[in-house]
Symmetry: C2
Subunit: 200 residues, 2 copies
DNA sequence: CACAGCCTCTACCATTTGGTAGACAGCGGA
DNA sequence: TCCGCTGTCTACCAAATGGTAGAGGCTGTG
């Protein structure tokens, strides 16, 4: 029925969704197993502990995210504003397709140091490179001068903030569905444009 | 030693901090009690269940937040840009003083409908009024035309995003301390200015 | 057919969780 | 002095949690 590796993958998949939706600590192994249609002990066969399951989930999610963004960066246009634009679009794409990824991001702040390190391992180089690139464009006068780190922080905070799937945002008439995410993404792109376009 | 009501207040206080730091589900009543220096059953004496404790925590936190912001709005200057500026500063103030408030905001997305409603009860009117006011200023030509709801959503997302106390943001050289929050707040203010200043 | 390895299962276990029942200490008022 | 109220305590409990031990079924290969 199922190919040899697929149970493992299905567990990873279900765990990502559940961890993202409800928080790592609030999801039991039993629940993940039930979702997959298997016993808890099968989960523990594939991942010796909940901790290592989380580690694997973070690992694969981060790797996928980095791959998507890397690809976008490589194929992005040369003009710095266009470039930022297409990267922002790329960052939002996995989130639109898979809201649980946003949920996981929301968990960042309360992960154990070991798990946080696992994520940083993947994301740090990416962010560092982006900041460096923005800084270089500023030096070359193709972007308005500013603190690239702060601007990255703001953009990052925005993405993270969307992760709250907020009840509150409903008041704003905003919905955390694909359409809402796209709207917000476009708003962020406009903001970045306004902030970074060279004065000229 | 302790005045009659103070145990209750101390429990609320400790619960806010712990819920914010580590997530509602991950904090046990025992832990809260230990923090206060009291037995778990004393906590259950003051709040008949964990659910009602959470409710009370949200209630008081939201009420305080709204009070702070309301005061800021009332004493804010008339010029719309200045006005937004001083409200943004006000929103950040409780967060700077009490990081756990940010942690609680991060919990928003996974609160039960009942608890989320409790929060919306306080925050909705505030947000609705802000959006209405921004819309009015746009109509009057004192702010650049745009979707006030989306702009509010973006600003809100930023504040929420900061709540992640992110490991990742450290890469950016950013720190989630008071200084870092102030820097980010100022960056957000600049963004809002850039986005909303009338074309003239 | 037999065997070995892979995978999932049943059966437990200790710990922790939110919650209940009720004893008892202190204190102000009659 | 006694009473009743407030607030904290000790003593439990059922359910759920992460995790262990080991049996047994299914598969492809010799």
């Amino acid at each position: 029925m199922t190919s040899p590796a697929s149970t493992r993958v299905r567990i990873l998949d279900a765990a990502l969704d559940l961890f993202g939706q409800r928080g790592v600590d609030s999801v039991s192994l039993d629940e993940i197993a039930r979702e997959v249609g298997v016993r808890k002990q099968t989960v523990l066969y594939w991942f010796p502990s909940k901790d290592e399951l989380l580690d694997a989930v973070l690992e694969t999610a981060a790797a996928e995210l980095v791959a998507v963004i890397d690809a976008a960066v490589r194929s992005a246009p040369a003009d710095p504003l266009e470039r930022i634009d297409s990267v922002v679009r790329a960052v939002f794409r996995p989130a639109v397709r898979r809201p649980a990824v946003l949920g996981l991001i929301r968990e960042l702040g309360r992960l154990s140091p070991a798990h946080a390190a696992r994520l940083r391992e993947h994301l740090d180089p990416l962010i560092a490179r982006a900041i460096e690139a923005i800084g270089a464009e500023m030096d070359a006068g193709r972007l308005r001068r500013g603190d690239p780190g702060l601007i990255a922080a703001l953009a990052y905070a925005t993405v993270t903030g969307v992760a709250t799937e907020p009840e509150v945002l409903r008041t704003v008439g905003w919905t955390a569905d694909a359409r809402g995410l796209r709207q917000l993404r476009d708003e962020l792109r406009a903001f970045l444009r306004a902030a970074l376009a060279p004065d000229s």
